[in-house]
Symmetry: C2
Subunit: 317 residues, 2 copies
């Protein structure tokens, strides 16, 4: 009999197809497991598959007395209470780096889309206003990328890939992270100093308690009126209310967001703004990235059921 | 008395400000010069400032008997009948390379926007459909950039900058141009071979009679169903009707366009499509690019009125 794996978050069926070949999947569709499945069905559940952003604390872990592994689909694991898992001797795995290029690419997409105002541009052509010679909303030229100072917040795999891409655009690249790396970009010892220096802030830091609302009104103010913010990390890193205020009163020029404080809810005050580009958390959503993430999930689950340590375990400091 | 310069195309006043400091500008606003100005005012016009894409043939040149210089604002000069100008001993100048980075950046913006479907993504969030858990139009993941084969058509300054940017995205880069260059990208001896190899075609070739409709139904067919076309050169290079047909019947997946066959008219069949990203010819439209282009214009006009050869003359083969 195949080993049972409970699908804890809501995932499209197509993304689960490779796992279904190997395991007996109990798919909750994101609902409470005990509403969807009987106690008998849930008996003996030893592994959960989840999205790293979905909250998963000790009280949930306790619903499955034999739980031994929580495997995250993707890089993030911010929803998992790691301390609670450790106390219960539950291994936590993820897919480190598997989606890094894909996420870095969506960061670049959002950065270019907001700095070059592609939504406004498309609407001007699509509406017929350009053909009718109506006044162009693109009239005032914006700063281009060559010579722009782009600040990368967080220098993990995604941050490095963002930095390398930005450098190819002839931009100056600087970064802030907890430690200085051996990289050809200017290091800033604080987020404040980075924001003061740059006019485009790319948020690529791992989410957690210490980065909660790290990008607040004060940091946004330092970017300047031609400043842009791009977030592909987690919504919690930005104070979303402060961002809406800064975008509304033009403290900053624009933003490109793939993540939000309470997904899938992007606040109405944000979706009503013309100077934002919004994506529904699709950073890692490419064919190659899914294949790579699924391979990590399969490797983690297979190892777990064979009694080996997870090959892609979350490393705790 | 300042030298007179006739502004032949329609330009925003702000873009002419630096010239107005040095020259006596006669601004037609894109209308016929003899409708806007009296024969007396137009008497002795020796220099025209124009947009390279605006048609300007021998019959127009003959309206200004003392014309000695046609200066294009920007890189392009495809609207100018160079043979007619040469026969009349009229020098033609442009701004080579001044906007190359800015244009390459809009090519990358359009490429990322079409391959990652950013307009569809933004609309899904903005409409509230994501929050309401309506079926996602982003469900089917697309190929990402790492490992994608990107074909660059034309290897001038803009083509090189596009290629360098694409390489930073971990894509494979190939190109076709009349001559093979000493560059680290795979060379294809024909456009057909390039289109067969790649799935993203970036058009960066100089427009002219020999490139008219070079990208036709056959070339589009070779890109494949996950293929994308990006054009930042001139609309004439693509057979626009064939492109609309290919986008409609999904012969190709998407397109990103900054230029059109008859600007500012983007055909309704194109603007109605969901799988295109459209920009109103803003490739060179950044602050730094305008400053650089204006410097070329000023250098050309100053040299001409001082009796020197144009420093940025159009080089004819």
């Amino acid at each position: 009999m195949a080993d049972k794996v409970l699908i804890y978050s809501r995932f499209p069926k197509t993304m689960m197809a490779r796992f279904a070949e190997r395991f007996d999947l109990l798919d909750t569709g994101g609902k409470s497991a005990h509403e969807v499945f009987s106690a008998a069905e849930l008996g003996g559940i030893r592994a959960l598959l989840t999205a790293g952003g979905t909250p998963l604390g000790g009280e949930v872990m306790d619903l499955f007395p034999e739980l031994g592994a929580i495997v995250c689909y993707g890089t993030g694991y911010d929803g998992i209470d790691l301390k609670a898992a450790a106390e219960r001797n539950i291994a936590v795995g993820h897919s480190p780096g598997a989606n890094a290029a894909s996420v870095a690419d969506i960061a670049m997409t959002l950065m270019l889309a907001t700095t070059r105002r592609i939504l406004v541009a498309d609407q001007y052509v699509r509406s017929g206003d350009w053909a009718a010679s109506k006044p162009s909303p693109m009239m005032r030229p914006q700063a281009g990328l060559p010579g722009r100072r782009i600040g990368v917040y967080g220098m993990g795999e995604i941050g490095r890939k963002i930095a390398a891409r930005c450098a190819a655009f002839e931009s100056e690249v600087g970064y802030f992270s907890r430690t200085k790396h051996d990289l050809p970009y200017q290091y800033f010892p604080t987020l404040e100093a980075l924001a003061e220096w740059c006019s485009v802030l790319m948020i690529a830091v791992r989410a957690g308690a210490e980065t909660q609302h790290a990008v607040n009104a004060e940091i946004l103010g330092r970017l300047g009126a031609d400043g842009h913010v791009v977030n592909i990390s987690r919504g919690s890193v930005i104070d979303e209310q402060a961002l809406v205020a800064a975008l509304t009163d033009k403290t900053v020029a624009g933003a490109g967001l793939d993540v939000y404080e309470t997904e899938p809810h992007a606040p109405g005050a944000l979706t009503a703004l013309p100077n934002v580009v919004l994506a529904p958390h699709i950073g890692g959503h490419t064919l190659d990235s899914h294949v790579a993430m699924q391979s990590c999930v399969l490797a983690n689950l297979t190892a777990f059921f064979e009694g080996r340590p997870l090959p892609h375990a979350v490393k705790t400091a």
